[in-house]
C-alpha cells in the first residue's frame, strides 16, 4: 500500500552506490555462452577461433596455416602435424533496461533503488570484463541514458548517470522494446530490470519480448507484499498508481486467495517466458541487499547467458 498523495521523487547523489557496493559487484563475472561476431576484443569467448588464451580444439594442418599454431608435441608422438586452436575473445554488449515507471518510485522503499543498484552491479561486471554497456531506462517509452561504451573506468560515470534518472509514467514494455529494437544495436545481452507490472498483464510482457533477438536476462523486482498483501483488510478502494484506475474490493480470505492465485499465474507466466526464451530470471527482493542476490545469480562467480 502506498501513502496517499506521495509524489515520486528522483534519487539523491550517492544514494545508489558506494565503494563497497562497487567492489562487491566487480567480483562477479558474466560469461556469455555465445557472442555475436565482429565485436571488439574483450574477455568474452566466441565461437570464432583466434588468438585467445583458452585452448579449444585441434585440426590438421593445411597449407597457409600459421606455423606458430603447430603443436610439435603431438607431431613427435603421432608423426602428424596438427594445429592448436584457441578461442577468439570478443566483447559482449550489455544493454541494461531499468524500469523507471511510476510504480518503481511510489512505495516507501522504492523499487527503483534496488533496480538501479542491480543494473549498476551488472554494468560493473561487464565493464570489468571489457564489455560494452548501454543503459536505456524505460517507462511508457525508452530513453537512452548511456550508449554502449566500455572501459573499467566508466563505472563511476555510469553510476552518476543512473543517479540522474527521474521517475517516468506508466509501464509500457511493448513501446519501450520497440524503441529499443529501432536503435539497431549489435546483438548482445539485454537485461530488463522491472516489476513487469504492465497494465496488459503477462500477455503484454510476452508479446513485447517476442520480437527481441538479443540474449535476455529478466530481473524481476519483487517484495513480499506483492504476493501476500497483509495490509489489505476490510473494504478498500484500490487506486492504481500508474493508471489512476480504482478498484473496489471487499477483502475476504477468498478474495486474498484469488489474488495470490492471480499473482502466481503472473509469476509463473514470467518464468515460462524466461524458460522458453532461454533467458535468465532473477527475482530480486527489493527489501533485501542487492549484491548477495545478484551474486546468487552468478554460480561460482560466473553466469552464462
Amino acid at each position: 500500500m502506498i501513502e496517499e498523495g506521495r509524489d515520486p521523487a528522483g534519487l539523491e547523489s550517492g544514494q545508489l552506490f558506494d565503494a563497497a557496493f562497487l567492489a562487491a559487484a566487480q567480483r562477479l563475472r558474466l560469461v556469455a555462452r555465445r557472442v555475436a561476431p565482429r565485436g571488439r576484443f574483450a574477455d568474452q569467448r566466441s565461437k570464432d577461433r583466434g588468438s585467445g588464451l583458452e585452448f579449444q580444439d585441434y585440426r590438421p594442418y593445411v597449407a597457409g596455416d600459421d606455423l606458430r599454431a603447430i603443436d610439435w608435441t603431438v607431431y613427435r608422438r603421432l608423426g602428424r602435424v596438427f594445429l592448436r586452436l584457441f578461442e577468439e575473445h570478443e566483447d559482449l554488449p550489455l544493454y541494461l533496461l531499468p524500469d523507471v515507471s511510476r510504480s518503481a518510485w511510489v512505495e516507501g522503499e522504492r523499487r527503483a533503488v534496488p533496480g538501479l543498484q542491480a543494473s549498476l552491479a551488472l554494468a560493473a561486471v561487464a565493464l570489468g570484463q571489457h564489455d560494452s554497456v548501454g543503459v536505456f531506462p524505460f517507462a511508457d517509452d525508452l530513453t537512452v541514458l548511456q550508449r554502449p561504451t566500455s572501459g573499467k573506468n566508466r563505472v563511476m560515470e555510469l553510476a552518476h548517470r543512473l543517479e540522474s534518472v527521474t521517475p517516468g509514467g506508466e509501464t509500457d514494455l511493448g513501446t519501450a522494446l520497440r524503441r529499443f529494437r529501432g536503435l539497431g544495436l549489435r546483438e548482445g545481452l539485454v537485461v530488463i530490470v522491472s516489476d513487469f507490472f504492465d497494465p496488459g498483464g503477462i500477455e503484454a510482457v510476452t508479446e513485447a519480448l517476442s520480437g527481441l533477438r538479443h540474449r535476455l536476462l529478466l530481473v524481476q523486482l519483487v517484495r513480499s507484499s506483492d504476493r501476500d498483501p497483509s495490509w489489505a483488510r476490510g473494504d478498500l478502494r484500490l487506486v492504481d498508481c500508474e493508471s489512476g484506475d480504482s478498484q473496489d474490493v471487499s477483502v475476504t480470505p477468498q478474495v486474498l486467495d484469488r489474488y495470490r492465485a492471480a499473482y502466481d499465474r503472473f509469476a509463473g507466466g514470467l518464468a515460462d517466458l524466461a524458460r522458453r526464451r532461454g533467458a535468465g530470471l532473477l527475482a530480486l527482493d527489493v527489501e533485501s541487499d542487492v549484491i548477495p542476490q545478484v551474486a546468487d545469480l552468478f554460480e561460482n562467480g560466473r553466469r552464462e547467458v
Binding site: 500500500m1 502506498i2 501513502e3 496517499e4 506521495r6 510504480s103 511510489v106 512505495e107 523499487r111 516489476d195 507490472f197 497494465p199 498483464g201 506483492d226 476490510g234 473494504d235 478498500l236 478502494r237 484500490l238 487506486v239 492504481d240 498508481c241 500508474e242 493508471s243 484506475d245 480504482s246 478498484q247 473496489d248 474490493v249 471487499s250 475476504t252 480470505p253 478474495v255 486474498l256 484469488r258 489474488y259 492465485a261 492471480a262 499473482y263 503472473f266
Partner: protein
C-alpha cells in the same frame, strides 16, 4: 408468552422494520477506504468489477444478512422483555400485607422485610403501566399507582412499619374485585404476607382474575398470642364488679403463662376455664369495676417474651367504673313508697339516700334538675308512660330503644288496660334531663295488680339504670368472634379488633397470631417465571452468543 415492555404488535413491527433496515444496509454500497497500490492488476482478477457510483450493489451476503437479522431480532426480543407468564394487557395488583402479623421476626429480619423484598423482585418483572401496589395495613391505600416509576416505592416504604391492626388482605381483595377491571384484560393479584383470604372472596373473583401468594420463608414458630379479652356482667349478680374473659391460642402453649396486673399491681387469676383445640380460655369473676387498667401479658416459661410476634403478647383493657347509683325516694304514698323502697333496697346497684341533692336519681318527688322516676296522675299526662330522653336522640328511636332497656316488654299492658278501662300509650319527649313518668293509677293496688307483678321491680331497676345512664357492658370482644351486640356479624368478624371502649390495642386476629394454621391456600407464582432467569434473560444470552459467533466468524474471515 407476552412482552412486558413492548406489545406484541410493536415487537412484530420492530422485527419487520429491523429486517428491512438491515436489508437496505446490506444493499447499500460500502464506503471503501481509498488506498494507492503499485498495480491493481491482480486485484482486478481477484474481484468482480463493481460500479463505483451506484447507490446499491447486488445482495451479496444472504448468510451474513441472516446472522445480522438473528442478532438484531434477539436483541429486540430481549429489549421487549419477552416473558412467558404474562398475558398481554393483564393488570397486576400487588398487595403488601402491612398488618401486625407482619412484625413477626423471621431470622434476622421480619416477615414484613421479606414481603418487601419479594414485592420489589416481583415489581421489577411487572409492566410498569399495568401494575399497582397496595398497602394493606389498618387502612388500604395505593402506594404505587400504575405508570409510576418503580424507584418511588423504596422511598415510600422507607421507615414504614406494619400497622398494629389485623390483616386486611381479604378486605382489599374484595374491594378491588368489586371495583372490576374496566378493561377486560384480566387481573392478577399477588399477595405478599400471611394474612388470610376467605374462600368466599376467592369465589367472588372473575374468571379472568387469579390470586397468587408470593413465596416467603416459612414461619418457624407456631404462634402464641392473646386473641380475646373482655368483660361481662358478673355471674354473681353483684354490682361494682365484672367478670373478665381472656383467651389465648397457639401451638406451644405449654411453655407460656399469663400474668395479669391491675393498674400495675399483680392480680391473681383463676385457672383455665376451658380449652378448644389450640385455644385456652380464662374466666375471672368479680373483678372490681373501678376503672383500673388491666394488662394481660403472655410470658414464656423462662421469663422471656413470647413467640416471634411480640405484638400479641400483651393486651390491656380499661375496666368499667360501676359505682352505686344513689337514689332518693320522696313524695310517694306510704304503701307505694314502701313497695318502691323495698325494690330499690333489693337492687345491689342502688344506694338509697335521704336528700334529693345527693342522689343520682330521684324517685317520686321533686327532681331538682336530676333524672327522675315520677308517677303523675292520668289527668296530668296523656300517655301512660312518658319518657323524657336526650335531645340528641330522635323520639321514635328513643322510644323503640326504651321498650327493651326499660323492660316495658315485660309489662302485660293488655291486662293493665283492661283493669283501668282505658288504653295505655307510651310516649317520648326530648328533654334536658332524663325522666320516666308512669301513671300513678297503674300503681294503685285497688285498680291493678302491677305492683305485685314481676315486671314492677324490673321496670324500676332498669329505669333507675337508664336514668343514671349506666353504660352497658359489652360482654366480650374477642377477635374472630361475632360481637353479640352487632347486627352485622360478618362485618365484625375480623375488623372489630381494636375498639376504643375496650382499649385493647394489642389484640390481634387469630391469623396473625397463628399464621401457620390460618389462611387459604393460594396459587404461587410459577417458579419458572420467578427469579432472574426469565425467558427474556435467555433471549438476551442468546443474542450475546449470536453476537460473539458473528464476531468470531468476522475475525476468521468467514463473514464480510
Amino acid at each position: 408468552m407476552s412482552f412486558t415492555a413492548l406489545s406484541g404488535s410493536a415487537l412484530l413491527g420492530g422485527l419487520v422494520a429491523t429486517a428491512a433496515v438491515l436489508y437496505a444496509l446490506q444493499r447499500l454500497r460500502v464506503r471503501h477506504e481509498s488506498c494507492t497500490v503499485v498495480t491493481s492488476l491482480f486485484w482486478r482478477e481477484a474481484t468482480e468489477e463493481t460500479r463505483a457510483r451506484s447507490l446499491f450493489e447486488r445482495f451479496r451476503h444472504p448468510l451474513a444478512y441472516a446472522m445480522a437479522l438473528l442478532c438484531a431480532g434477539l436483541m429486540l426480543l430481549g429489549a421487549g422483555r419477552l416473558d412467558d407468564d404474562r398475558d398481554e394487557g393483564l393488570r397486576h395488583v400487588l398487595l403488601l400485607d402491612a398488618s401486625a402479623g407482619m412484625t413477626r421476626a423471621a431470622g434476622e429480619s421480619t416477615r414484613f422485610a421479606q414481603a418487601q423484598a419479594a414485592l420489589a423482585a416481583e415489581l421489577e418483572q411487572s409492566p410498569r403501566d399495568r401494575t399497582e401496589v397496595l398497602w394493606c395495613g389498618e387502612h388500604v391505600r395505593t402506594i404505587l399507582a400504575p405508570g409510576e416509576d418503580r424507584a418511588l416505592l423504596g422511598p415510600r416504604l422507607a421507615g414504614r412499619t406494619p400497622d398494629l391492626a389485623p390483616g386486611t388482605l381479604d378486605r382489599a381483595l374484595r374491594s378491588r374485585a368489586s371495583m372490576g377491571d374496566g378493561e377486560g384484560a384480566g387481573r392478577r393479584f399477588v399477595l405478599f404476607g400471611d394474612a388470610p383470604v376467605a374462600p368466599a372472596t376467592l369465589a367472588a373473583l372473575g374468571a379472568d382474575e387469579r390470586v397468587e401468594r408470593a413465596i416467603l420463608a416459612p414461619v418457624i414458630d407456631g404462634g402464641m398470642g392473646i386473641t380475646a379479652l373482655g368483660v361481662s356482667e358478673p355471674a354473681s349478680g353483684r354490682w361494682g364488679v365484672v367478670d373478665l374473659f381472656i383467651e389465648d391460642r397457639g401451638g406451644s402453649r405449654g411453655s407460656f403463662d399469663l400474668t395479669l396486673t391491675l393498674d400495675g399491681e399483680r392480680f391473681d387469676r383463676g385457672g383455665v376455664s376451658g380449652t378448644d383445640g389450640d385455644r385456652r380460655s380464662f374466666r375471672i369473676s368479680d373483678v372490681p369495676a373501678a376503672g383500673a387498667l388491666l394488662e394481660v401479658r403472655l410470658n414464656a416459661a423462662g421469663g422471656a417474651a413470647g413467640a416471634g410476634l411480640r405484638a400479641d403478647d400483651v393486651a390491656s383493657i380499661r375496666l368499667p367504673s360501676r359505682p352505686p347509683i344513689r337514689v332518693a325516694v320522696d313524695g310517694l304514698a306510704p304503701a307505694f313508697g314502701a313497695a318502691v323502697r323495698a325494690v330499690l333496697a333489693a337492687d345491689p346497684a342502688v344506694e338509697l339516700v335521704e336528700e334529693a341533692g345527693e342522689a343520682d336519681v330521684v324517685v317520686g318527688g321533686a327532681s331538682a334538675g336530676r333524672p327522675s322516676l315520677r308517677f303523675p296522675s292520668s289527668a296530668d299526662q296523656e300517655e301512660a308512660i312518658l319518657i323524657g330522653h336526650d335531645r340528641a336522640v330522635d323520639s321514635s328511636a328513643a322510644l323503640t330503644s326504651a321498650v327493651g332497656e326499660l323492660g316495658l316488654d315485660r309489662v302485660d299492658a293488655t291486662a293493665l288496660a283492661e283493669s283501668l278501662g282505658r288504653p295505655l300509650a307510651v310516649g317520648a319527649l326530648p328533654s334536658d334531663v332524663r325522666s320516666v313518668a308512669i301513671w300513678s293509677e297503674l300503681m294503685d293496688p285497688s285498680r291493678t295488680s302491677f305492683l305485685e307483678s314481676r315486671a314492677f321491680p324490673v321496670l324500676v331497676g332498669r329505669s333507675i339504670r337508664w336514668l343514671a345512664q349506666v353504660p352497658d357492658l359489652t360482654p366480650y370482644r374477642a377477635i374472630g368472634r361475632l360481637e353479640p351486640t352487632s347486627l352485622d356479624g360478618a362485618r365484625s368478624s375480623l375488623a372489630a379488633m381494636v375498639t376504643a371502649d375496650l382499649d385493647a390495642a394489642s389484640l390481634l386476629d387469630p391469623a396473625s397470631t397463628a399464621p401457620v394454621t390460618a389462611g387459604v391456600s393460594l396459587a404461587e407464582p410459577s417458579p419458572e417465571g420467578a427469579g432472574p432467569w426469565r425467558l427474556y434473560t435467555w433471549v438476551l444470552l442468546l443474542a450475546l452468543a449470536a453476537l460473539s459467533a458473528e464476531w468470531a466468524l468476522f475475525q476468521r474471515g468467514r463473514m464480510p
